[in-house]
């Protein structure tokens, strides 16, 4: 069982029931998530020995977040306890033409106040195979920005594969701030989730010729990124066509050894909950790579994993490898009886 380490914030999500507005809600559904936690949970459900590094308040909400991780088999020995509060957000679920609306209440969270010396990455990385972090973690505080760099460097020193998902969030920082913080990280990254917007707005790649096909554009951007960061062996992204809040078309891309591999298009309708869909994809990519799948198998698997995640409530992809493989083979909506 390969050991995986992820590092980031664990968030509390409070969601309205479908067809209700936050304005009028008298009941909310709770889910615990966060990009790195979600990837970790999915990898744990694929059979990895996943260890989450984070910080949670020493109260019942912190306990509940841990319980969520544990129920999915994630190890929580490296989740610090303390600080003021758990980062929180409210999600007014969208439907049809109406978009979901997020009301953030995540400031002053325990992890945002972490100190530089609270985490001992050397011991955490012992025996590990992979380290995963996203662009959200460095956005939370200067200390976390510094710690992300430290973690990636140490991960490479310890011989781990490293994975970084850009995950740019405009509500957390500007493109300029993000670019300044993220560029130095990329020198230590083996696997990178990034797309066209990241390439242009964060990494400064000149825009591709408009007459190119979607596929050609993506290859163009990935070539340029790899020219800048030759250490990056794998780049992955999804194209999501948003027909409505309830219907999306999703296609996965994986760039490796100078070639672009694309999954089939999944028509996802109705969407039960799209939060965590990207993290399910990222976890699928990581599993494909760690498991030695071919690029085609990997992108097929990862996109299928993401499509399945859209059919269940909650941030976490709780499908097993076997279920995803079966979905790839037979997925169609037939009753199995």
């Amino acid at each position: 069982m390969k050991k995986v380490v992820t590092f980031g914030e664990i968030l509390l999500r409070l969601s309205t029931n479908v067809g209700e507005r936050l304005l009028q809600a008298d009941q909310l559904q709770l889910h615990y998530g966060g990009a790195e936690a979600n990837v970790g949970i999915s990898l744990s459900n694929f059979g990895y020995d996943v260890n989450m590094v984070s910080k949670l308040p020493a109260n019942a909400l912190g306990d509940a977040a841990l319980r969520h991780l544990q129920s999915n088999g994630v190890k929580v020995d490296h989740v610090l306890r303390g600080g003021e509060r758990i980062g929180t957000y409210y999600l007014e679920s969208g439907i049809g033409e109406r978009s979901a609306v997020v009301t953030y209440d995540r400031k002053h969270s325990s992890i945002a106040d972490i100190k530089e010396d609270e985490i001992d990455f050397d011991s955490i990385f012992e025996g590990a195979t992979l380290f995963h972090v996203t662009g959200i973690t460095p956005a939370l505080s200067p200390v976390l920005s510094e710690l992300t760099l430290v973690a990636l460097k140490k991960a490479k020193e310890h011989g781990l594969m490293t994975s970084f998902d850009m995950n740019y969030r405009a509500k957390l920082w500007s493109q300029k701030e993000a670019a300044d913080a993220i560029k130095p990280l990329l020198d230590y990254v083996d696997i990178c989730s990034c797309g066209e917007l990241d390439a242009v707005h964060l990494l400064g790649i000149p825009e591709a010729d408009d007459r190119l096909q979607e596929e050609e554009k993506l290859a163009y951007y990935y070539e340029h990124i790899q020219a800048l960061y030759p250490n990056i062996q794998f780049m992955a992204s999804t194209n999501r066509e948003v027909l409505s809040s309830t219907a999306n078309r999703l296609r996965g891309n994986l760039y490796v050894d100078g070639a672009l591999y694309r999954s089939k298009v999944h028509h996802i309708e109705p969407i039960v909950d799209r939060v965590g869909g990207g993290d399910a994809f990222a976890a699928g990519i990581l599993h494909g790579i760690l498991d030695g799948m071919s690029p085609n198998e990997t992108i097929t698997y990862a996109t299928a994993a993401s499509a399945l995640k859209h059919t269940i409530h909650g941030d976490s992809n709780i499908f097993s490898k076997e279920e995803i493989h079966e979905f790839v083979e037979n997925g169609s909506g037939k009753i199995k009886r």
Copy 2:
């Protein structure tokens, strides 16, 4: 804050959960509505000083109906209390090919037994800008038919704009009865919600040439109505293509100064609750006119308001102006985060 007055019945709706029949239901959802109440609530949520004129029984259901209006900021000083019961109906929610089914239990309601001298429209209209009523109110009793005429006349005397929504309901009266009652009202109306069926069956306009386009037909009817009632400055309607109980295509029409303006077509799927969709449209039209929007802006806004209403439970459109404008600009189903 412009003052608006609406006059009509407030109804109790008892709806089944989706996928359940009334035959087997052991739980029902409560909503309070009624065409004029719904328009009033929407205008209140747009920022108007809305005053509802109605009558409710002096019991807990009457109190609850008032509470619903108040929670949306509607003033209820002119809602009389007394009489026998609140008008009620049961809605077995439709889905897919299966239609919703209404079981009416609205006879003997408090407002249907209102007396002619119970309402003092002179004081109610003081300082008001707009009066809105629909064809349901005169259908409820001879006294209410008379009172609707009185109210419209007095509204004009007080210098208000007047708005009338045909809202023909075959279960309440015959086309003949409706035509007899409604025609005299139209002499006092500035803004009229009416469509092709109203033109033909209530107002006696000869049917348009079948070879005309939908758009041309509508213009033809509106021209003829305006020839009969030159006082009517604005006419509005929607074309609803019912793909199923769950999917509709909706387009709004506004006729003003001899020209027809049409919104884009909204593909509404899935529909959460279509009750009140027409009232949300009517309120949108009224706001566009009161707010001095252009005809194109008005019909865009009103149809968007109606589309949004379909995505939430309940009769009331509880979206703000800002939310509807944002939906017009960005509406697409993307998460805002």
Copy 3:
């Protein structure tokens, strides 16, 4: 009121809420069903005097199953009590691309342990018009296989029409076992629900030429079956195109007097619950035949009945004849008010 007799297992279904996995469920919905019970319930709701022959444990779950039948007017005097347990299965509801998953827990059920002399079909068939059974009953035990044959023979002796639905379930027996058991039954069958796969895999009809249309193939198979079993007067089946767990296209087929009659295609979306959809169809066919409808009316009615069943929770079709006829005329998703 014509008397109908059905014979088979009554099952307890425990279903997850939509968007939840069985893995994480802390609440399940209960439904009682079973192919023959479902057909019986639908016929009872059409106005027949339906009598179910079955066996249930003498505990609260057995009582609850009886209560379900009774609430639909089915007579339960011939439901034996005793044995170990009620046959049970868990249904993880599918949605979109994700299929529903059945976890069976139906072994050791009371009916599977029935003894040969526990049922007196002679008295049960007194005064009856129709006997209905499916291929699930003989699959449950050798005794039930024998009893099914006995029942069909006695039904013919008593002058009843007999109906048999193939309902092949791979988890219950092999094709070989099924073929051996079912073939002798067919000599006593007047109405048979069976499709292409049954023809090829159970009855050994050579596969039709691939260049034939769907319609021609079906006619080919039905001709061959009728050549083997000239006693079978009616054959019926549905073609279900599974777009997803949520959207199916359904078309019904009826073969009678050498001609194939087909319904229109129903686009069923969203599907609330497809369990029992086939039984609703079978009951519709039986009613059409018993009621003397034309073949076209029959297949239209039966397919409409099945489509309606998909819009409600539970295994049972609880629509009346009148409602199905109205759906055939007006079905479209319009509110009836």
Copy 4:
């Protein structure tokens, strides 16, 4: 299986969830009941062949009421369909010191508009053993008052035992009206549920000496009633000490052959739903008499039945004879495992 006939109104009850007021409710629970229906359902669950005589509107709510009766095995062939609406009431559930509050909306119900010739009691009473009706039925309309008398007379002609429960409801009629209507009925009654207040206020028995014990008073009243109506063989009632909405102390009384028999006191806490508690008692008394129990067994059984009813939601006592007997023996709150 002895045949029982009951005659009365079937009501729709809409109840709030515990701890919620009707004023603010957005969800209500549905139950179907009515005094005579409740007694019939309980007797059906005890194994009698119960036939309900009533009238319901020809709509989905009428269908649902029938379904409720059928699920409990009650025969509904004599429930007429037609008229305007089902009698309805809203129940704001009480708790602790706060009382439940009923908001009636039962006027204009289908049964209240019944015509004299709509019911053929002669055929209904064929083969029957017992007829049960309560003081609510004659209170609903003059025709029903007349029909109640007719029914009781015919029941005696056909040799049935007759049972009458006073059930005085101040909101339906005055004591004077009730007395005038009920007194003539009592000449045809064998079993009468009535208490101290009925004796004094309806039957005009002089108040008992205040210094008497509860038990002595009751005996005094029953003696006087029997002196007036020597045909009455059994009189029964309960003493309910209302500690709060949640806690009651209940004791049953049965007067037969000049002697008073009393049950033990049941401490009922918490009360889940007390509606129908009196009807469960009445049905228990009737079963004791029909089953030939001793007076002590009868009053023990009836009071236990009533106590059990308080522990479940809904108007109906759905416990079997065996369960009530077991409760009498072992009732204590121990888990049975």
Copy 5:
């Protein structure tokens, strides 16, 4: 309709369902409250023209809090919008021996960051009769402490009655801090809710002789407080005997003109929700005084109001004057039908 002004924080409460721990909750109930909002809502439901002064974030949770106030008729023109977040707390509901547990997440709330010049009390107090505030408001920030003093002074200048509820919260400040802030306020207070602990720990009154009765002790403390603050005309408090989370005994005390008046003891069981019980009492006292009730009537009314509040979910007392008076007369748990 007398005008009342209240000033304080509006809080979001997120509560677990009964019998669930926050640790494991996947669903929470929302309620909006806060001591001053609760008193305002209750007074509005008694018929006063209540105006709330507060500050809420300009997001959906702020909108929802306003909607709650409006639904109870409270005017919200003086609720400022802006700042970072709404003060929030999580309530793990207690039951039986297990206590409720509060997890606070109320720091950085919009009102805590209010600036001194944001509120214009002069215009707010125009035409008002009463001003109510509690000890929670000055505890939230130094500016709010200052503003509370300003408000009380201005209220007296404008001729209002002033009401102050001590409401000491140990999690917000120390006794020393509270004493320093509150003492200067008391010079401007007419009506004060305070008890024995406040007298000793905040106001420094020497402890009463232990041999005194509860009643004598209370009188002793109130005498001493009045000696220090002769401007205080009314003092009120409750004695709550906590038998368990589910059962409390509650008695109200009112001290006026040197005499102590006490209500009867309410045995409250089961408690649905005790949050807001103290505020319901305070509002009852204020209504008694404003309405000119006698001290005995006042304390009876206020304690009854508080007892009723315990029987419903939510922070707000939504009973009307009439309902409370009826409860005082008849309260007993009997069904009213």
Copy 6:
């Protein structure tokens, strides 16, 4: 972190909602439990490294049971997968005078079909401190009876403390069968949960003199047991006075070194869910012993743990040590805020 091993069946419980009968339920709540699993979960929540030995089917219900254990931190590496089904039971929740009723459906479970060589206790006990098993495990099959003996012997060989809870279940075996199987086990037991009935009916201790106090009787039985099995160092039990399904009085007993220690009496009302109350007690005893508490502290702690368990839904005691200690100190129903 001390290592603990438990061995037994994991059961699926399907419970009705309060106030509903299984007969009529359309929804059930799921809980996973089993005596040894419950003890393990509680010890894990106290901070022990708990390892469960069991067998579950390789299906979604088996996965769900594991997820439940994991969410509480229990290690599941030694839970075998395979066999036919998960042991299941239905619980009709009791309330007030009405008892809960269990409908068992636990035959043919995966663990009941376990083979002798499937478990390697030698490696499982490596490094462990405590082994816990109950009398349910040997009752499930002859192989499990044998394995329980093997496990206890090996546990002693490996130097573990051993704990055995009698847990006699009359539905699983006779007293004679139980006695024959259990007596040989007791030679290897250090800590034994057993009471008066076990002593008399299973171990054959002569009944104590009736004139003795409860306390003296218990001491008498424990003395006699210890005379027979001098290896047993600790004996524990509870006295439960069942006032009703909703109210119990509970007292714990611990016998050690010839002395009996008793806890205070907990009045538990209302009971949310008493399933698992005994297991919470057993876990409390084990923690007291492992943690080196005094006998008085131990019995206080264990009984408090059991009382707390009664206030939450589910079989598992999910309170931490700190929460139980705090309950012991302050438990009273006061809100902590």
